[in-house]
Point group: C2
Chain length 245, copies 2
DNA sequence: CGCCACTTTGAGTAGTGTCAATGCTGGTGG
DNA sequence: CCACCAGCATTGACACTACTCAAAGTGGCG
């Protein structure tokens, strides 16, 4: 039996071999479908509009996903981290809809779509994991939609800085910042000058300090309040979801 | 055998009974999990932050999905039409993340999450359909992200008007418009006044005419060019997606 | 008829974008 | 070693888009 291309739990695809319903033969077949690759910072995993043949699972590192307009304007869709899957668009389309660029050294497992369909056919646990990964991506995407549509420049920047923290963390002070001002702007629907000015303003107010490649958070609470309160449905309204049958 | 709650092909869930691998008994069990409901325009299918127990399949009609900030600002995530599924967020979370409101008379099939997990377990064809539906939602969401982040007010409005058309249609002249100016604004990250002004400007330029509840498109080509060109990756760049192994 | 929600239009302004100049840093090559 | 260069970040001056506030018009419905 050949060794599995991919060993860690963070890889969605690899969980195929953990599913109890599979025979040794099936496990072996799945292992052989996986292709492991390494990319350097700046390398492109796949290009928008290219033919989509592989689905990628990120094992390690960080990747940015962008879409662009023909005049060169480009928008960062999200930053992808270990455990997430990339290239899911090909479940419906024949081409990638985003360009995926490595921000750091990156390790991936990839699998051909047609192979993946086989795995899904045989292995409901894998499809559930894929469904959960997609749902998570979708929620992240919709959070960005809300922020792009509703928030002001300072709110957007504060929100972004907070996403650099592990969730529910009020301790951490210094976090790495992999994006340039331009990339932050491309993510937040702003210009690099505006991002720079807002960051300078936060610095003046002693909310953050900026080193090269890192940000120090000096005042979590204030930053959170600047980020704009996160929903929780204020409107009492008439909550009658009448169903007629 | 009880009759199926839901007959039309547009319902993702109902395709369960089309899957050839199921026994008559299994089909019967799945049928009994489905609950059919009707809502009137303005009714709420589910509220943001409520406990998520059901997944909905839209059989008929149109629904808007919104998320809000605690100060009342709200953003329309997307408009959902027949054949799409709603409430997918509960695959990961325990609560809905959006409020779903009927824009028209709406027919749905709904199913409990725990029941759906059983169906997926037994029926790979259903999970594939769910995966494709989620991927489609995600692509739609990312198109909105791009437009919110990159486009100007006139580009946004033009883009929105074009989405009212069936895809690749250069013929249709009159299309229904279910959204108010306020709702269009909530979808495009603008104010209702700005939307109104842009629409008036388009009218003056004889690109559209606005009746109540409908829009007449007088100049498809111009509208498309105003909408901003749709990607297609202009940058030649060095397309070396080096992989190191 | 009068009320209410929706839409349109105007005037003034705040917030971002644009353009341009400067400074900083790291890398390259003489 | 230093000079030079390219990319990134910062800052300023200015322009302009889109927002705010306000008023008036429109249409449906009790």
């Amino acid at each position: 039996m050949t060794s599995c291309a991919c060993e860690i739990n963070a890889c969605v695809l690899c969980e195929a071999r953990l599913y109890p319903g599979l025979t040794a033969e099936q496990v072996c077949r799945i292992r052989n479908m996986l292709i492991r690759e390494t990319y350097h910072a700046g390398d492109v995993l796949f290009w928008e509009a290219d033919a989509a043949t592989f689905l990628f699972a990120l094992r390690d590192g960080q990747v940015k996903l962008i879409r662009s307009l023909s005049d060169g304007r480009q928008q960062i869709m999200r930053l992808s981290i270990a455990g997430q899957i990339l290239g899911t668009e090909a479940f419906n389309d024949k081409t990638y809809n985003r360009t995926a660029t490595a921000l750091t050294e990156v390790n991936t497992c990839k699998i051909r779509y047609q192979d993946l369909l086989q795995v899904i056919e045989q292995n409901p646990a894998v499809s559930l994991r894929v469904i959960q990964a997609l749902t998570h991506e979708l929620m992240q995407a919709e959070t960005l939609i809300r922020d792009l549509g509703l928030k002001t420049a300072p709110e957007k920047v504060a929100t972004f800085v907070l996403t650099l923290l592990p969730p529910c963390d009020n301790q951490t002070v210094e976090v790495p910042l992999l994006l340039s001002r331009r990339e932050m702007a491309e993510m937040l629907g702003l210009t690099e000058e505006t991002v720079s000015r807002v960051m300078a303003e936060f610095h003046r107010k002693k909310i953050i300090e900026t080193g090269k490649g890192t940000i120090r958070l000096l005042h979590h609470a204030l930053l959170r309040s600047l980020a704009g309160h996160e929903s929780s449905m204020p409107q009492a309204g008439n909550r009658n979801s009448q169903s007629v049958n």
